[in-house]
Symmetry: C2
Subunit: 205 residues, 2 copies
């Protein structure tokens, strides 16, 4: 036992908590240390409410078996909402994308969360995505809106999914989000491919 | 019930978790949403280990009644360590400062965590800091090292504590950390007061 203090030991709960926090997205070991201190400095005020929020989310939140979104009910409240247009499905990569889309308040149709995009490098094959459940809910659907990221992988995935849809439901309209200049974007600072796409897809003024 | 989805409801556990996470230091609502999604996307892999780390830290970590540091034992392993020099106490603002000081491996004495600095604006009065316990452990101590921040509040606090110490233990040496150029610091980018202090405290080359 050469170590001066027990903090440095691996089985120390403080050290263990810091390591766990550091695994969260966007956290490094410095910020994890800060958060751990914050939590431990006042257990009643800081630690307990977080723990009960985690426990309640853990117990109550589940994946919707239809659209793979997260909610406290299954099927989720979007899938069962009476005002949602059942003839439209917007295909998105993650639940966060659904939240972002819902925040706009613009789209009134249904969603389908794919759970990722195809990627040979990361070993994401079609069977790891929720393509099967998408294909099984296409009856009565008029339009699929591909809202996957405008990346190589996102577009390859959209292409693959579109192909699968056309095999069984050739009459469904498959659309995609418009590409172009982001609102608030300065032309000078746009990347070349966005600018080229925006020029190619230019519309009437 | 005008809302389209249950996410937006205040009593929704997802929303509640996001709000709780957003209260952690260094987190905003965007990063809290990302963390919540990460946790909920794979409860077994992401949520459960974090919860057990939190629970274990909650149960086992406590404040040392001597130095107010956090540890799994009380008195803490620094206070009871046989190789620590009992004649020196380094006064620090927070537990994070103790960890930082211990990481340097340079200092071999004891610590005392003050729990903050005096601040009229934030309502931090002397009785909210652990000044009393510091004064009660001064017998046999030769040196107090003031390692509070080089801010106005930090220095005012150090001055106040030094005054209290001198009242009962006039023979204790009270020192402070050296001020000057941080290692790796470029003179050009130093703030004026650091540069002035470094010039004033210059030493032999």
């Amino acid at each position: 036992m050469n170590r001066l203090i027990s903090y440095s030991m691996n089985n120390n709960p403080i050290e263990h908590l810091i390591k766990r926090l550091a695994k969260l997205p966007g956290m490094g070991s410095r910020s994890a240390r800060r958060v751990a201190l914050h939590l431990l400095s006042d257990k009643d005020m800081n630690m307990d409410p977080l723990q009960s929020a985690l426990q309640s989310a853990r117990d109550k939140v589940e994946k919707c078996s239809t659209c793979h979104c997260l909610d406290v009910v299954n099927p989720c409240s979007i899938c069962t909402h009476p005002e949602k247009d059942t003839t439209k499905i917007c295909l998105l990569q993650s639940v966060g994308d659904v939240w972002a889309m819902e925040r706009t308040g613009f789209y009134k149709g249904h969603y389908h969360v794919l759970g990722g995009v195809l990627s040979a490098l990361d070993g994401v094959t079609p069977d790891k995505l929720s393509i099967g459940t998408l294909l099984s809910r296409l009856d009565g659907v008029d339009e699929i809106i591909m809202a996957l990221g405008a990346t190589v992988d996102g577009q390859a995935t959209a292409y693959y999914v579109a192909e699968q849809i056309r095999k069984t439901h050739g009459d469904i309209t498959i659309s995609r989000l418009a590409y172009g200049v982001p609102i608030g974007g300065e032309v000078e600072y746009l990347d070349d491919s966005t600018l080229a796409t925006a020029m190619k897809s230019r519309g009437a003024f």
